[in-house]
């Protein structure tokens, strides 16, 4: 492989040493039983740092504190309730089988492994499916107002990529309601004095002592002060890195910095190229665009996706007769129709737009039409189900979706890659745990709808409390040497000083936008060898320019939002390069990673299990050195890899 000589080095393979063997149904029970316990008196002596207050971080903080540990928790927003989990719309999966439609833990496990295009670990996914039921129980006990039927029992709906109704929801605001549940549980512990909460604090480095993660360096975003907090273990629940594309459905503040700085300190970063492009977002309206807005894919349950049959048809949608419309998802995938998984729906939209059949400004959009649904269910029923989404659409576009079909286009939404963790969610640095979207663990190369909330809460409420406890049973780990703290702090200060001293002539946003264009163009929905190589020429050049020409106004004292952004974008540059290297090395198509060179005769993604049936875990070797690839082989005992077919 000539490529490896120029782009990366290959290191030793790695393995997940924590997953127990035996029948898959028993593994989590076994692991929990084998996990060492910490007695209550010792729990009071142990401190855990948690960075992030989303579903994973919030639930982990609440639960660890409830167990008796001291928790120090950080978020960069002004309140833990702002974490971006709050924006998840559609729902949360669980294998309750309340509908009696043939669902089970095994089916949820099977669907998730298959949906992930056979690039996830069976043990992890099975655990997720098992825990899914406990999550619903837990959330209901907290008072989460899930949608209910007239009999008072919980309602369910089906969601992209599955044929059973296993998705629990709270209108179009499921993430909000689940997050508020976790947030309230978290604040209950703050009130009880078990959690020390620091909002408007951003983690800028990891403190390592004696090979273990022992603390974090943070910047108080209000005072500008750089501070270090130490503990016995550190949990990162800092979300995904979709904002490397500048335009995404992520919140503006979502960033990779915490994960990336941990990566630079030695934590391996797995599968960075697995990016989920969500098919139902509101299309870009102009150059001013600062973010993309997702329309819940639950809309695909009742809306029908179509484009004009002929390219360049510029008639208004209402003037295009039925027989000149192409309901392409129903045509190509008759058994799943509009409900095919996200990656497939997104690529199909890109294909019809590439054929010149796209609609709206720039031809980058397809219709999502509710005319049939309104006729079938009546407008009030449609309103009850999707009212808030329709309003949101109208506010943003100025068009009324009850009368004119919505226009949608794919947008970056979720990143399946993240810091590599073992079955215990522990990274390659002992004492560093990673939860939620920030880790790579459960979704393989593609995440199914309504599974992110499930994973975040599974990690936080149920996995970490067991596995962090097992780790802490080995404590105490000794004093953190002052040199370790000083070294981390001085690195952070040096970077801030450097950013402030450049005083160039381009804004941070202008660089971020340009980086985003490169990534969307060459490392987006469709990737090619040639395009990725081009990106790998462009990104380092742009990064070099950034460090020469960026202008960060103000100083490091006090609130400086431009400085915050600059630090995050600096990390996105390095991540972007690794994403392209990962995408280039993986010469197969799988899930959210589509290589144009690897497709079936009819254009579908073509995996190469023999060569790429592994997790690519990358090691940082230094700013000028090539990243080192460590492979974790994936084995499938229960779900035999097959070509995904939704036809």
């Amino acid at each position: 492989m000539g490529m490896s000589e120029t782009l990366y080095e290959t290191g030793e393979p790695i393995a997940d040493a924590k997953a127990p063997g035996g029948p898959i149904e028993d593994r989590w029970t076994t692991r929990k039983f084998e996990a060492r316990l910490v007695n209550p008196a010792n729990k009071r002596k142990r401190t855990v740092i948690i960075v992030g207050t989303g579903l994973a971080g919030g639930s982990a903080g609440a639960t660890l504190a409830e167990l008796g540990y001291n928790v120090i928790q950080f978020c960069f927003q002004d309140s833990p309730r702002r974490a971006h989990s709050i924006a998840a719309q559609g729902g949360i999966n669980a294998a309750k089988n309340y509908r009696g439609d043939g669902d089970s833990v095994h089916r949820l496990f099977y669907d998730t492994v298959k949906g992930g295009d056979f690039r996830s670990r069976e043990s992890n996914v099975h655990r997720l499916a098992e825990i899914s039921n406990e999550i619903i129980d837990q959330c209901v006990a907290q008072g989460v107002p899930f949608a209910r039927e007239y009999g008072g029992l919980l309602d369910n709906r089906s969601f992209g990529g599955t044929q059973v109704s296993r998705t629990f929801y709270a209108r179009g605001q499921t993430g909000q309601q689940l997050l508020l549940g976790a947030y309230q549980a978290l604040l209950r512990q703050v009130d009880a004095g078990r959690i020390e909460l620091h909002a408007r604090h951003e983690m800028l480095d990891l403190v390592i002592a004696d090979g273990r993660a022992r603390g974090v360096v943070v910047r108080d975003l209000v005072s500008g002060e750089i501070k270090t907090y130490t503990a016995d273990a550190v949990v990162l629940a800092t979300g995904g890195y979709g904002n490397v594309f500048f335009l995404s459905t992520n919140a503006k503040g979502s960033n990779v910095t915490a994960s990336w700085r941990a990566h630079r300190k030695g934590a391996l970063f797995a599968n960075p190229c697995y990016t989920q492009i969500h098919p139902t977002c509101i299309p870009v309206s102009g150059d001013h665009q600062s973010k993309l807005t997702l329309m819940s894919e639950s809309l695909r349950n009742d809306g029908r996706v179509w484009v004009p049959e002929t390219a360049g048809d510029s008639r208004a949608p209402g003037d295009i007769p039925e027989d000149e419309r192409d309901y392409y998802l129903e045509r190509i995938y008759p058994s799943f129709g509009n409900l095919v998984p996200r990656d497939i729906a997104s690529r199909a939209a890109k294909n019809v737009c590439d054929e010149g059949r796209g609609v709206g400004p720039g031809g980058l959009g397809v219709y999502l039409d509710f005319a049939d649904a309104i006729e079938r269910m009546g407008r009030p029923a449609v309103e009850a189900k999707y009212g808030n989404l329709f309003e949101m659409y109208e506010r943003i576009t100025g068009e009324n979706p009850y009368e004119v079909p919505m226009r949608i286009y794919p947008a970056v939404h979720y990143t399946m890659g993240g810091l590599w963790v073992d079955y215990d969610l522990q990274a390659t640095i002992p004492g560093l745990f990673v939860a939620g979207e920030a880790n790579f663990s459960d979704h393989g190369a593609n995440r199914l709808g309504a599974s992110a909330l499930m994973q975040g809460l599974a990690d936080g409420y149920f996995v970490l409390p067991n596995t962090v406890g097992d780790y802490l049973a080995g404590a105490p780990f000794g004093e953190v040497p002052a040199e370790a703290v000083a070294e981390a702090e001085s690195g952070v200060r040096a970077q801030i000083d450097r950013l402030l001293s450049i005083d160039g002539d381009r804004t941070v946003d202008s660089f971020h936008r340009e980086l985003g264009h490169i990534m969307w163009e060459y490392c987006g929905m469709e990737r090619t060898d040639e395009g990725l190589r081009k990106a790998l020429d462009l990104i380092p050049a742009l990064r070099e320019e950034f460090w020469r020409r960026v202008k960060v106004p103000g100083d490091g004292e006090g609130l400086n939002q431009a400085l915050e952004k600059a630090g995050r974008v600096a990390d996105f540059f390095e991540l972007a390069e690794l994403m392209c290297v990962d995408a280039l090395h993986r010469r197969e198509s799988c899930g959210g990673h589509f290589r144009a060179e690897s497709r079936t005769e009819d254009g579908e993604a073509l995996r190469d299990d023999d060569e790429f049936g592994y997790v690519a875990a990358w090691e940082w070797a230094g700013p000028e050195a090539l990243p080192v690839l460590h492979k974790e082989a994936l084995e499938f005992e229960y779900v035999k890899p097959s070509q995904r077919s939704y036809k």
Binding site: Q77, D78, A87, Q138, P145, L153, Q173, Q184, K551, P553
Partner: protein, 250 residues
């Protein structure tokens, strides 16, 4: 579109602050209000001036981080809309727009348009939760919830904690925020055991934090981007009376 902006600039909590005028050209009607401010900030940075600090995050109307009192109205002129979802097509070419921070003693200004809303967390901390230890929950179907209750609880739970109710209230009261949580949890069967302690603890904390008293002016519900209704306050009052006068608080 060309606009004149008059923006509150305040360089830190102890600075006195003042309105400063800026002209912006080339505003597209399709921009969101915050994107318009982004454009202004890009220019200010290149001109060597400090950009305007403002809070924002999700930019899709759900995180509750964005704020701004626009021409005297929290989140601007459009009902049931957060600032991040307000689009410039709601304004006219040549308009002058005044932009101020939330103004309330419990929400001190940190810088420019950024205020500290920790007080809201403190109110929730005082009792805005149901004590449900992880892992101890019964099956989700063990306790059915009548749909009308679940729906009303949900509507109250939609509150995004942005603080527009306080910004709009002539009394600087945070009662709508407090009441929304009291109603959400008070309507769920799971919330009953702590119902009366919760309301008293939350209201006392609300008052101690320096929020004004509620005189039912109704400005809050008009400003609320999620349309939280005033009847939440009715329920809070009822529960509060029952808890204090009726002796329901333990």
């Amino acid at each position: 579109m060309k606009l004149t902006l008059r923006i509150w600039r305040q360089n830190g909590p102890s600075d006195k602050g003042a309105m400063v005028e800026y002209k912006v050209d080339d505003v597209s009607p399709d921009m969101s209000f915050l994107e318009m401010l982004d454009v202004l900030n890009e220019r200010l940075i290149l001109d060597g001036e400090e950009p305007v600090a403002f809070d924002h995050d999700c930019r899709e109307g759900i995180c509750g981080m964005c704020s701004l009192v626009i021409n005297g109205a929290p989140h601007g002129p459009e009902r049931a809309t957060t600032t991040c979802q307000l689009h410039m097509r709601k304004f006219k070419d040549g308009d002058t727009i005044d932009i101020e921070p939330w103004r309330a003693r419990p929400f001190p200004v940190i810088k420019d348009l950024v205020v500290d809303r920790t007080a809201f967390d403190k109110i929730i901390q005082a009792g805005g939760y149901i004590s449900a230890p992880t892992g101890a929950a019964p099956d989700a179907h063990a306790m059915p919830v009548p749909k009308p209750d679940a729906d009303r609880a949900f509507e109250a739970a939609e509150c995004i904690g942005c603080g527009a109710c306080v910004a709009a209230c002539p009394n600087g009261s945070g009662m709508l925020f407090t009441a929304a949580k009291v109603m959400h949890l008070g309507l769920m069967p799971q919330g009953q055991p702590e119902r009366y302690d919760r309301v008293v603890d939350m209201v006392e904390t609300h008052d101690d934090l320096g929020f004004g008293g509620c005189t039912n002016t109704g400005e809050c519900t008009v400003a609320c981007p999620k349309g939280i209704s005033l009847d939440t306050i009715g329920m809070l009052n009822r529960d509060y009376l029952r808890a204090t006068a009726g002796g329901a608080k333990k």
